[in-house]
């Protein structure tokens, strides 16, 4: 469904912002999964680290059971919980089967945060949520502190011996980045990552989606999802990538916060591109 939209997006998206990562004062912290390896051999133990930080540089976050809504791995057609030790980093570990690409998913129970008005708006700008600034202005709330409840929805892909259709299916997170094809597939076109952002299982238009390269976080791309929630990136280098997006919605009247923010991330290792069939090895 999104492939046509993504294809339309592809050309301009390839030219999207490639800027030096800014180490600015804003305090919007991303959240992602950092396993001990992205390509585990069958039967090996993989530790699953959680990270909070900026520009793909962050602090380890220990396991905190009360803060976990869901922490699972889908591999070879089944889903198991990711186990771990309370208050310890790495937050979890699992036994890799190594068959098809494994999908690790983490969802937090949400936590409150309150920021002074100016700081709240800085952070909204930083994560591309300018419409919320406008909404606050229309509601006469610009001078009010930002009271929100933030939820983390992180996914990671562990490369297996073969690709998995599970990668292209939502795992059911409230806000989720879903690739159109398995990006760990060495046979897939390597220079473009296409996917969708889904909020409440529906495509979300206009969301800022960003990508960072682990080995050099100054390599940074950004684009916005189209009407079908589709986005596309040119990822020029093999390596570990973080794709992330933040969405915000008005909290329900039963919430003690005014806003709810949803932080989606996807980490994976993009393999080196295979030479096209018939191409000669330059060596």
């Amino acid at each position: 469904m999104p492939s046509a939209a993504a294809a339309r997006l592809a050309a301009p998206a390839l030219l999207t912002v490639a800027a030096l990562a800014t180490m600015g004062p804003a305090r919007a912290h991303d959240f992602w999964i950092e396993p001990s390896t992205f390509h585990p051999a069958a039967g090996t133990t993989v530790t699953i680290g959680l990270r909070a930080g900026q520009n793909f540089v962050g602090d380890p976050v220990p396991r905190f059971e009360r803060g976990i809504e869901r922490f699972v791995v889908r591999q070879d057609g089944s889903e198991q919980p990711v186990v771990g030790i309370e208050n310890v980093d790495p937050a979890g570990f699992l036994q890799a089967r190594g068959g098809s690409t494994a999908v690790i998913a983490y969802a937090s129970t949400g936590a409150p945060i309150e920021l002074p008005a100016a700081q709240f708006e800085d952070y909204l700008r930083q994560v591309g949520l300018e419409p919320i600034i406008e909404l606050r202005a229309r509601r006469g709330e610009r001078a009010k502190p930002g009271r929100e409840r933030f939820y983390r929805y992180a996914k990671a892909l562990l490369t297996g011996e073969r690709t998995s259709a599970a990668v292209t299916q939502p795992v059911g997170l409230a806000y989720e980045i879903v690739p159109d094809t398995d990006p760990t597939d060495p046979a897939a076109p390597q220079n473009i990552l296409r996917g969708r952002v889904l909020y409440a299982n529906k495509p979300l238009a206009g969301a800022l989606v960003e990508a960072y390269l682990y080995s050099d976080p100054s390599v940074h791309f950004a684009t916005r999802s189209d009407a079908g929630g589709a986005f596309a990136f040119a990822l020029p280098r093999a390596g570990i990538w973080l794709v992330k997006s933040v969405h915000m919605a008005r909290a329900s009247i039963f919430s003690s916060a005014d806003w709810e923010s949803f932080w989606a991330s996807l980490t994976f290792e993009l393999p080196a591109a295979r030479p096209p069939p018939g191409a000669q090895d330059p060596r």
Binding site: R27, H29, R51, V57, G58, D59, V61, D89, E114, S252
Partner: protein, 362 residues
């Protein structure tokens, strides 16, 4: 008041309402020999990666203990630059060294590095601030002043700096009695003078009648109810958005005031309604108390004394109303026409205005 709030926040990790708590811990101590020292415990690989990105070097990974130690030693100067200790606003350059590095072969076990940073305390320095620019998640800082008194624990959000701390004198943790007294004052002050809406509600209860028994029944119902929801809300058992609670509190004021105009007797349903309204007011009190924070190790004494402070303030409102109005004119034939009805009408109008404002404001 500011000191009280600070103490409350310092004692309560839950009050650090920010991002996730990470694995970093810092112990900062002022020494009597004119130096300061900081022990920073943190994740070693993440630390190396942060410094590698900062110095634009390739990120390392999968290093063994010896290689990781060597890597961190190479990066020790850039690391020291990220430790920002200031005395009376002037920076005190830090020297850093690796104290301990634990990297268990079993990757499921936690690894950590302990860094020792030191620097000089300028003569006559009064205050010190701490900032560690390599932190993203929330972490704890334990501070010991040069008098070697009780350490103070602060929760810092990422690379935020502390408020100025006294170099020489430890912040003495408050005793239970001090906490009780402080929260009693907070509870009282939340009603008088800060809680005009609660004052009007209590006046609404008072204006119904000059007889003691109906007033006592209502005040008791209100007190029991708000005590229940204050406790349950603070323990996280019940929760209702201020967007609902605050307009409902205003509406409760309108109701009691309008009923005062309609009737001068205690209707059978009035205590039940006052009880229900009390449940809402208790949630409103809890919102305030949550913002103030409750010390974890003195949770119940602080909660109870805050509630007692509220009760004392309510009784003060009723006593003041009685002494200034009812005691003199309650037997006058015009008491109801000239005091109760105009007073209640004014209270109802204010309550209605607040209701509209609170609904529109939310």
């Amino acid at each position: 008041m500011k000191r009280l709030l600070l103490v409350a926040l310092l004692l309560l990790p839950g009050a650090a309402r920010g991002h996730e708590i990470g694995t970093t811990q810092v112990r900062l101590a002022m020494q009597r020999d004119g130096t300061w020292s900081a022990l920073i415990t943190t994740g070693p690989q993440a630390l190396a990666n942060k410094l590698e990105v900062k110095t634009r070097q390739p990120r390392s990974s999968d290093l063994d203990a010896a290689a990781l130690r060597a890597r961190l030693e190479q990066l020790i100067d850039p690391l020291a630059e990220e430790i920002d200790v200031r005395f009376d606003g002037a920076a005190s350059p830090a020297r850093a060294a690796i104290d301990t590095l634990e990297l268990p072969p079993d990757i499921t076990l936690p690894s950590f590095v302990v860094l020792r940073a030191t620097g000089a305390i300028p003569p006559q320095a009064h205050t010190v601030t701490w900032r560690y620019r390599l932190a993203y998640a929330t972490y704890s800082l334990t501070f010991t002043a040069s008098d070697q008194g009780s350490p103070l624990t602060l929760w810092l959000e990422g690379d935020a700096a502390t408020e100025p701390l006294s170099v020489a004198v430890s912040a003495t943790p408050p005793t239970r009695l001090e906490i009780v007294w402080q929260y009693l004052q907070l509870g009282f002050l939340h009603i008088i003078p800060e809680g005009l809406d609660h004052i009007l509600f209590v006046l609404g209860i008072f204006l119904l009648t000059t007889k003691l028994r109906p007033i006592l029944i209502q005040v008791t119902a209100f007190t029991v109810a708000h005590s229940i929801t204050l406790g349950l809300t603070m323990y996280g058992i019940v929760s209702l958005s201020p967007r609902i609670v605050e307009p409902m509190i205003s509406l409760s004021i309108v109701y009691v005031a309008v009923e005062n105009i309609v009737t001068a007797t205690l209707t059978p349903w009035r205590p039940a309604l006052v009880f229900a309204f009390g449940l809402l007011h208790g949630m409103g009190f809890a919102d305030v108390l949550r913002e103030l924070g409750l010390p974890r190790n003195e949770f119940i004494p602080a909660l109870v004394s805050f509630n007692v402070g509220i009760e004392l303030a309510q009784l003060t409102v009723i006593a003041a109303a009685y002494l200034s109005v009812a005691m003199w004119w309650r037997d006058k034939p015009w008491y109801r026409a000239r005091i109760v009805i105009p007073g209640s009408a004014l209270i109802a109008a204010i309550g209605l205005l607040w209701t509209v404002q609170r609904i529109a404001g939310f």
